[in-house]
């Protein structure tokens, strides 16, 4: 009988929230992989019931301190979908600018502070700063500029206060944006340097061939790299709108996790996982990146299609560059909207939206009554959608690296989890609604 080995991490570091890892394997392969999420659930969908529709962006922001803008964006778009209103183009652009800020601060936090230490063998960015002071300083500088966007448009970096159903409480004047533009120009140069730096990191080889190749899922929009709008498409030909999301995707409860796993409906168990986030967006929307971003990708010889998740740090860096480029474009074309928001009247209705959070698809659905009180809410976070893919990656990774000593193999598994920048606080917001019989 073969002897089983165990890899165990009781509390994963450098991820947002509380998760653990358990893997059992032997020479023949991996028996069991569990990305255990022990962060307690917070029941957001439960206490959204009965709340006013105008509160949804402020309440759902509190699901995640790292990506509150994503929750606010999916919330306002879903409610506007229910109310059948479309804010002016100027509002649309301003929301995109805000999202650029969050992509930058969230991605750069991950690139420099959570993920890069893995590649260079440090415990943290602070430890890394002793040997690479300029690099860590650069990361902090880029992050600060991302935060400056969110602060100016949103009112503050974490849990912004300016996002409203129908628009914003206050739209900035053009001259208020000019000092930010100066910072963004500096940030864009730093972001280019960032791409060149991450491209030289040592990347483990990892490839999932057919039939275990990734199924990438992201929004897609004909005119722009996706953020707030578009259809949900996949690398295998799916093409649906937000309202159809629940027809095609389901969440299932697994015993080892306080977060639900998302799957593609109607598939076999070993083939129902999918991947959302930077790699999916990049692979499905490369053509819509800005010319500068594509040029820098070419300079480092990075392909248009990336399926090594260890290289997602490069994709994130390219998205940071894109976000700077896009933010500058928006400011250069900025026209202050005539009214900061569209006045809304509540009606009994249901609405759906999907936006691209830094970590991938974020689905919201709300039903409300004619007084504007929310009667039902459903939220699916990117990390729930990636969980099964993360576990599968570990399953396929270990057989290739069994020759490593246990510490190295465990570190590699942790790094493989961080490839997805998992946000566990996001993934455990949910309400368990299906009753299960007590044994």
């Amino acid at each position: 009988m073969k002897k089983s080995k165990i890899i165990k991490v009781d509390y994963l570091a450098r991820v947002e929230g509380e998760g653990a890892l358990y893997i059992r394997y032997d020479e023949a392969g991996v028996d069991d992989v569990q990305l255990k999420i022990f962060e307690p659930p917070r029941f957001f969908e439960a206490f959204l019931r009965g709340r006013d529709y105008l509160e949804a962006p402020d309440i759902t922001a509190r699901i995640c301190g790292i990506c509150p803008v994503a929750y606010q964006m999916s919330a306002v778009h879903a409610i506007e979908n229910a109310l059948r209103i479309t804010p002016a183009n100027e509002i649309r652009e301003l929301r995109r600018l805000l999202y650029c800020g969050e992509w930058i601060e969230s991605h750069v936090l991950h690139i420099y502070m959570l993920h890069a230490p893995d590649f260079l063998g440090y415990d943290s960015a602070v430890a890394m700063a002793k040997d690479y002071p300029q690099i860590v300083q650069r990361g902090l500088q880029i992050k600060k500029i991302g935060n400056a966007i969110v602060s100016l448009i949103g009112g503050r970096e974490i849990h912004p206060i300016n996002v409203r159903v129908g628009g914003f409480y206050r739209a900035p004047t053009g001259s208020e944006l000019q000092p930010l533009r100066e910072e963004l120009l500096k940030g864009r140069e730093l972001a280019i340097a960032s791409v060149h730096w991450v491209a030289k990191l040592p990347f483990p080889q990892f490839k999932r061939d057919a039939p275990f190749a990734y199924e990438f899922i992201a929004l897609s929009h004909p005119d722009e790299y996706p953020m707030n709008e578009g259809r949900i498409i996949s690398s295998t030909g799916l093409n649906i709108n937000a309202q159809q999301y629940e027809e095609y995707f389901a969440e299932e409860h697994v015993s080892h996790s306080n977060a639900l796993h998302s799957i593609i409906k109607g598939r076999k168990k070993d083939n129902d996982a999918y991947l959302v986030g930077p790699m999916a967006r990049y692979n499905l929307n490369y053509e819509r990146l800005s010319p500068l971003t594509k040029k820098v990708a070419e300079e480092i010889g990075f392909p248009r299609f990336c399926d090594n998740p260890f290289q997602s740090i490069i994709v994130r860096s390219l998205e940071v560059l894109y976000a700077f480029d896009e933010a500058i474009r928006i400011i250069d074309n900025y026209q202050r909207p005539e009214a900061p928001y569209l006045e809304t009247q509540p009606t009994a209705a249901t609405g759906y939206a999907v936006t691209e959070a830094p970590r991938g698809l974020l689905y919201h659905h709300y039903s409300m009554d004619d007084q504007g009180k929310i009667s039902d809410a459903k939220i699916v976070a990117p990390t729930s959608q990636n969980q099964k893919t993360i576990e599968n990656d570990l399953r396929y990774l270990i057989p290739h690296y069994m020759h490593l000593d246990e510490d190295k193999l465990r570190s590699m598994c942790e790094q493989a989890i961080r490839n997805y920048d998992p946000c566990i606080s996001c993934a455990t917001h949910f309400l368990k609604i299906h009753k299960e019989k007590k044994e």
Partner: protein, 276 residues
Amino acid sequence: MTGSTERRFNHPMKKMPKLAVWKFTSCDGCQLSLLDCEDELLLLAEQIDIAYFMEASSRQIDGPYDLSIVEGSITTTDEAERIQQIRQQSQILITIGACASSGGIQALRNFADVKEFTSLIYAKPEYIATLKTSSAISDHVQVDFVLQGCPINKTQLLEVLSAYLNQRKPQIPAHSVCMECKLRGNICVMVAHGTPCMGPVTHAGCGAICPAYNRGCYGCFGPKENPNSASLSHWWQTELGSDKATLLENFRNMNAAAPAFATQSLKFIEADHEKK
């Protein structure tokens, strides 16, 4: 601040005190505020040993710790045990954010009708481990300093850390958001525009951002000391025409279980019952 807290901050200082950052039930936003101190983080790390901070580092140095910063509320029995251990290992313990100070937004469950949560009774065991209430850290252990806010203001966090390192009392103003409006030069949204605003009863610290962005304060920094919530509620109803639902929504959000706000929100419910 109480006299005992002052004494605690005036402790003998080690050359490199050990800092631990702990997470309980929360969104991670308040501990992120520390990483958002882009200009100060590396400087801070030269003066204090970040010995335990899981979101930022895989290095885990054992206690005891000179200073513990605690984010999040207590929502499971495990967490209730863990906070005791942390208190025992920490010379000074500071809580950051609304979750740690008053139970946070997840404390809305504390007010829920039991019927709404019957689905939980049949859930798997790990859900049964979830407590019925979300409670503040100070409900479980002695807390040496409370920094309010959902999220906290990072400048205030730096002030607390700097006060600690310099063995002095943190300068965290205890007045209301109204004072911050005056300092910022905001026009009062309640008087000038008739917009309901929680500013008069809400603890300062945000810099009065909501009124600066043309909206009323929604109380995310929690109650100020001795707020006159009854008077504000009366004003909202008689002068601004606010309904009970609006009042309830504002007193019951990110700081719903903070005693001053909880007491006021329960009054609205009781008044409704009396009418019936």
